[in-house]
Subunit: 337 residues, 2 copies
Amino acid sequence: MSHLNKTIKDVAKHANVSVATVSRVLNNLDRVSDKTRKKVKKAIEELQFVPNSLAASMITKQTKMIATIVPNIQNSFYTSVIQATADVAKAEGYFTFVFPTNDSVEEEEAFFQGVLSKNVEGIVLVGTQTNPDAYKTIDKQIVLVDRYIENSGLDGVVIDNFRGAYEATTHMIEKGHTDIAILSGPTIYSNWKERYWGYQQALKDHGIKANPAYMKEGNWQEDSGYEMTLNLMRMDQPPTAIFATSYILCTYAINAIRDMNLVIGEDISLVGFDENDLAQFIRPKVTVVRRPTYEMGTHAATMLINKLKHKNKLDPHPKKLTLSVELLKNGSVKDLK
Amino acid sequence: MSHLNKTIKDVAKHANVSVATVSRVLNNLDRVSDKTRKKVKKAIEELQFVPNSLAASMITKQTKMIATIVPNIQNSFYTSVIQATADVAKAEGYFTFVFPTNDSVEEEEAFFQGVLSKNVEGIVLVGTQTNPDAYKTIDKQIVLVDRYIENSGLDGVVIDNFRGAYEATTHMIEKGHTDIAILSGPTIYSNWKERYWGYQQALKDHGIKANPAYMKEGNWQEDSGYEMTLNLMRMDQPPTAIFATSYILCTYAINAIRDMNLVIGEDISLVGFDENDLAQFIRPKVTVVRRPTYEMGTHAATMLINKLKHKNKLDPHPKKLTLSVELLKNGSVKDLK
DNA sequence: TTGAAAGCGCTAACAC
DNA sequence: GTGTTAGCGCTTTCAA
């Protein structure tokens, strides 16, 4: 903020009008004569005046700023969401703070403190918390993405995790697999929990007893998928199929399988989550549960901005929008029949 | 910005002190007795008061906000830079707007307008413009990343593109290759231009005449690398080696090569830029020019924030920081000797 | 159609 | 140590 910055006052003086008039021109308000308007615009031009929207915010109580909070900004799922919110925000004239929490509750809270004092109007949040009351004290509009919190009273955009996992597992079962492993992230989050449930339900519905040794829960971060896959394949009776329930887990599973000199779709069947470079590169392509990642972001951002625009007539009922998923059968599941 | 928000005045009343005292406590200023401080803190707690840092900004001329502007937020190079600036900003108490320009000058300018009115203090910029005067009117601290503009008077963080390309090309030549193609992005940007120069210089220094038909310039976006690779390999005399000068170009080159049923390191040699999932997955691993992407971001953000902190004693000489690169010889270049 | 003036929530002299 | 007060740059009544 340069000290040399021109103010509305300078413009007023330069154009020989009052500050009120300049403000009217700036905000395209009515009741300014064409002549005055032109005069003011010329002055603005000549002084290279840039209005200080912060000062305006103090009065209008509108900052046109939102925040997008995600665990990580290098995971392609989250970047897709960020891209989407950025696009929607751009179209609506909003500016977006982006913040990675590293899935740390402390980092998230610290950021909340700071960004709330900046008066963001709302937040698109892939949160670290799972407690229904966790975000109760945040007196801002919030839309949760991917990880929903039941009974929190918050709006959210999610996918049909249960069905995605159910269909993926059923697909493997129908191909003759019964020894099906699952690589999961932390099941404290709704997304993982529901995928886990879908997997279990599919097994149950087909009369297959779930084998606890085949169920691996890692952190979604980094390379846990690699170790888990190695461990699975080194069992006395390894699974014949693996369901890797995230983009990252799938990537690491593929790497582990390759490093063991096993062939996907032959020695071991694999179903992943989300399309990704690797899963689409190898042949046969990996069968994956496809979800509309970008659309999740656009819906979330749109819901948020709609709420900001219609603050007065808010629907008090929390809305959870569930987008459907699709099983892309690409040939990485061997037919055992 | 809720209308119900407490203000410093409410706190003052509640604690039975003046607003000045509350302000002092808030900013950890001296000369407040322990007793008063405690009283104020208690009031803040009880009222759940969140200070409006925008109001403070108006007086202090400090907003603690910066912007990170990149062409795209789904490319892993840029996310690495964003992650880095976010990390540095976080450590320094700054908040970061993130904005993708899609390499559109118009979008970039529109964003500048908006974000400048929000009084960001500085900008980390992978810009769309190449004109030395392009950013002259932006009265903010700017640090360029990756794409430097000579004679712009701006600071920047880049890598030694020339040397990286020179060494990569020399490596191929030393393995006996003379028919070496290059996949480049838009050479209007310094990074591509320098890589192109490095490639040409290496050929020249080894007495190899450059073949214009082997030099392909695409847009860095999307899939141009795929088409370019196909076209190269369909030539009457295709190259024996390809230098793909970016992470994306390399990824698409790999896909194209696979789709033509050619074997990397055997039928066609390949050198890429930046490590990436795919280049590291396939065997032999792709030889790449490795650059410190995250460090580019941390250096840029650190330079920026240092400048913001020491505004008064600014070094008037523009600083260009060049980080070194490293050729990771991974075996995708066949030895023709 | 325009201007004067109050005030958004806060900081920073300056006084006591 | 603490309080009073002017004012940051802007919008918004209210008058003219």
